[in-house]
Amino acid sequence: MADLTGDIARLGMSRRRILQAALLAGPGAMALAACARADSSTPTGTAASGAATLQIASPTNPVKWPINPGNEAIASGLSPEKDAVLRLYNYADYLDPGIIKSFEEKYADTGVKVELSTFNDTLEAMAKIRGGSVPFDIYFPSYDQIGKLVLANLVRPLQHSYIPNIANVYPEFLNPFYDLEWQYTTPYTLYTTGIGWRTDRVSEDIAARPNPYDVFWDPQYQEHLAVLDDYREVIGMTLLRNGGTDVNTGDDALLAAVRDALLQMNEKTQPRVTITGYTDLPEGRLDLSQAWSGDLIMAVSYLPEGTDPAILRYWFPKDGAGVVNNDVMVSLKGGQNPVLSQLFMNHVMDAKQAMNNFAYTGYQPPQVSITPEQLISDGFIPPNLQEAIVLPGYFDSGYRLLELPPDTEAKYLAIWQQFKAGA
């Protein structure tokens, strides 16, 4: 360590040479341009990116995505890949290990191994998928990325014959607005975005507030609350809190108000920004958190022994006018196992597996066999969390977080960056 001192000292006497060394890199660097990856600098491969445009799917503008040439669905009746490693890419704690195990057992004769990799947020996930370094087979995004995934030719169309269990899910998912005729996606889970809290630490009934979203600006909960580490959810929630009804707006005035509100929130309550509320609430690191409905159901299993599950509460607007979404499964084109990927999706949609997954993750699958009344009466969900059940009607009354046009997305991300910088 001490001798480093000497080395740097000697170095200091020849600063001129340092500059020369830096210049050495110059000419060789030009050659780098030659090995730049075409696919990463121009997203649509050889096509100039300016020529392609991103279609925005919404309930009023349903989209049937094109099938890119050379990316047709695989033939039906193919046998599963042998001795394959099926690579899943998902949030942490968002898939029952039992599903993986039962899939490996079911297809034991093929020697398949399932490997689950996790991401913290979908921005990070998209960067890695686009980088193309890892041949992930199945990705579990929200539908707000489908347009980009198709445009960049990153997803494989499905061969429906491998996925008979689609019959088990709500029929609307056979023709969802974000992917008419379910060419690329199968539904995974349903969730609403609301507020979760502990009644033993929060004395008021948050649901009784005129505007429950205001709690995130209430200094009495300073340092004991969190918002989701998800720019769409936080900005969407703030838009609703400000009285808006469009959670996908590109309106500058509305977004400026969101930015100011978020900076205010930082100042007033210093929220944590995390998606681990499902453990932080039950383990007492948070009293109150913006949460996905599934987080609260999952939180029950993280309660320390002897803690009454009745302390957990979840709020979502009674009239269903809140943020409601669903996650999907897609088969990535970079994956090496198209057959197994689709068989795995089919396996996840099996009624029994889907129920096991619900029990493990807390996130509700869109299975027709599941009825809200039955979830309570079976004791699957404690009555105090009944608001965390996603009702089919919510999809008519709720707000959807849609894919954003690039310029709007840039505005959202700039706000998020500023919020996270703690400015």
Binding site: A2, D3, A21, G131
Partner: protein, 308 residues
């Protein structure tokens, strides 16, 4: 930790720090006593939290703050969560060790040859390289990590993110250790042994191999240990350059789980890496002592530790 915790403990129980009289060069002045107190407090602050973390890896319950009895549950027998039974923890441990071995095996020879060259070859090119080495030593790790990440994702490279990328990043980042340590040793050795060997008819390469290199063994050993331990510790580089779950290391596991729902299994995992690290250091020290004896040099723990 197992090694170092005991002496701290003993020093604490020592009823009168005044007994330090015997081992101090100067008398037991209040100043010396004050400094001793500061040092002991510092050492306690620095090591006790880790000792507690190790202790809780043996907790029978799920808690990391309430002691519920001694158990190896989180190491071996918990059917789901223990290091032995959770495949992701197991693979994090083996992958960390794999990276440490691979990175050490390449970094040390590369660094030693570079140190030899930088020390004996005069001119502008080597001093430029010296700058690069020191740069890799002082630039914030995140800069190198981001550079390599983009290089791999934006350029056509013969390797992708994952183990190869991680090893490459680690080697680049660690290369300065053997260079700096071996060069320091060469300064104290001087040129006379090599020259004597040349006079006796050895070729340049032969002189280096037979005369110089053996004298550098202790320094090479120390740098190998340092590289190995530092790789076990690495987080920023391995995280940016990782690909899928099979390339997660223990530090990445700790980072992602410490914020979510950790069980004492995480402490157990960290303890196992600590044991690996301490084992290597201990083996290194034993080897160092043997070399030291052969050469009749000072070979105390202190001179070994002082090398860092």
């Amino acid at each position: 930790m197992t090694i170092s915790a005991a002496p701290v403990d003993m020093a604490m129980r020592d009823p009168e720090l005044g007994r330090t009289r015997r081992w101090r060069r100067q008398g037991s002045t209040p100043k010396a006593r004050g400094l001793a107190t500061v040092t002991v407090i510092y050492l306690l602050w620095s090591l006790v939290p880790v000792a507690i973390a190790v202790l809780f890896s043996f907790n029978a319950g799920r808690s990391r703050s309430v002691w519920q009895g001694f158990s190896l549950r989180w190491y071996t027998w918990d059917p789901v969560g223990s290091v032995a039974n959770d495949p992701s923890l197991r693979s994090a441990l083996t992958h960390t060790l794999l990276l440490a071995v691979l990175a050490t095996v390449v970094t040390v020879p590369l660094g030693v040859t570079l140190a030899l060259a930088l020390d004996r070859w005069r001119g502008r090119i080597p001093s430029g390289a010296n700058f690069a080495v020191l740069l890799s030593f002082v630039i914030p790790e995140i800069a190198l990590a981001i550079g390599l990440l983009f290089m791999i994702t934006l350029l056509t490279t013969p390797f992708t993110l994952g183990t190869t990328a991680q090893v490459i990043g680690l080697i680049t980042f660690q290369l300065s250790y053997p260079v700096v340590i071996v060069r320091a040793r060469m300064l104290t050795i001087g040129k006379q042994y090599e020259e004597a060997a040349r006079d006796l008819g050895a070729t340049a390469m032969g002189a280096v191999r037979r005369a110089l290199l053996p004298m550098l063994y202790p320094a090479i050993l120390v740098s190998a240990i340092l590289v190995f331990a530092d790789v076990l510790d690495n987080f920023v580089l391995v995280r940016y350059l990782s690909s899928d779950a099979s390339t997660e290391t223990t530090s990445m596991r700790i980072y992602s789980a410490a914020r979510a729902a950790p069980t004492p299994a995480l402490n157990a995992l960290a303890t196992l890496v600590l044991i690996a690290s301490l084992t290597v250091v201990l083996l290194g020290w034993l080897a160092y002592r043997r070399w030291g004896k052969n050469e009749g040099e000072e070979s105390s723990v202190g001179s070994f530790a002082g090398n860092f």
